[in-house]
């Protein structure tokens, strides 16, 4: 029985057929080519071990991608739990001292320079895809690891909040706060990138 499955899978051709695709997928999410290469390799090896479980219900590529996706989520989770995180276990408030003033009567107002400077951070005219990708990658890299994990799962993988909470072991209100903090930083970072 597993013979028929192995006929459908063709491990000798994997690197040639799916190497670039999986590598691109990984690099858009981990932003480090060495790490992305490792993830692709781990994916293929894990797939090889699990090939008896391939039922042919999906294409080879979809199946491999789903394995890669698990691996990527694992790296987020590792990053997330290895950090004594002040973001995951946030201090009970949603507010972030880096961005808002703390003294009455201006408590909660934007700190000078931390709010938006203009209506738009995007440049006028045609949006340069390559530039946009580059800046987004750089800004994601600047996010604290737990925020990056939540942001990537939500905005790039478009996972629903239940899934993200389960994967990262957090509550929904934790997640909303993390996404808020990630957006604060992404917006600020992108605006600065385009101004400079």
């Amino acid at each position: 029985m597993s013979d028929t499955n192995e006929h459908k899978l063709d491990p000798q051709k994997w690197v040639e057929r799916y190497g670039d695709y999986l590598f691109s997928y990984a690099i858009g999410r981990v932003n480090d080519s060495g790490k992305a290469e490792d993830l692709v390799q781990e994916t293929f090896l894990a797939a090889l071990k699990a090939r008896d479980r391939f039922r042919g219900a999906s294409t080879e590529r979809t199946w491999l991608t789903s394995i890669l996706k698990r691996k990527i989520i694992d790296t987020y989770r590792k990053k997330y739990t290895s950090r004594e995180s002040s973001f995951g276990e946030h201090d009970g408030t949603v507010f972030d001292g880096d961005f808002y003033r703390d003294e009455e009567p201006f408590k909660g107002h934007w700190l000078e320079g931390m709010g938006p400077n203009s209506h738009s951070f995007l440049p006028e005219g045609e949006l340069e895809l390559e530039e946009l990708m580059k800046f987004i990658n750089l800004c994601i890299e600047n996010l604290p690891a737990p925020l990056a994990a939540a942001f990537i799962m939500r905005m790039i993988d478009e996972e629903d909040s239940d899934t993200i909470c389960k994967e990262l072991g957090i509550t929904p209100s934790n997640l909303w706060v993390m996404l808020h903090r990630a957006r604060l930083r992404m917006r600020e970072c992108l605006e600065k990138k385009w101004l400079s």
Partner: protein, 102 residues
């Protein structure tokens, strides 16, 4: 100034209205879920009076849009990354070693 009418008015208002920290949180939250009426109204009122948060709201919209472009972008040839030759053959080698070990 510290006890003047402007100060007292701001303290009074700050008890009823939300400040930018909360408003920006709600701006983010409404991307992920529907706001209840009270929060929706509080945000609405805040945005009426705060030009910084209006800018912020617009930029968060742009961020959502940019991420959409980013997601779609990765299906185009232009942003395909290529696995380096060395990495490719290294992985190939690992794979065939595993295959032969079976």
């Amino acid at each position: 100034m510290a006890n003047g009418p402007v100060y007292r008015m701001m303290v009074f208002m700050s008890k009823r209205m939300i400040a930018c920290d909360e408003a920006s949180f709600l701006i983010s939250l409404r991307e992920d879920r529907k706001l209840d009426f009270r929060r929706w109204w509080q945000l609405k009122m805040h945005l009426l009076t705060c030009h910084l948060c209006r800018k912020y709201a617009r930029q968060v919209g742009e961020l959502e849009h940019s991420m959409e472009v980013y997601r779609d972008g990765c299906t185009h040839e232009s942003c395909t990354h290529h696995l380096s030759h060395e990495a490719g053959s290294r992985i190939d080698k690992e794979l065939s070693r595993e295959l032969n070990a079976k």
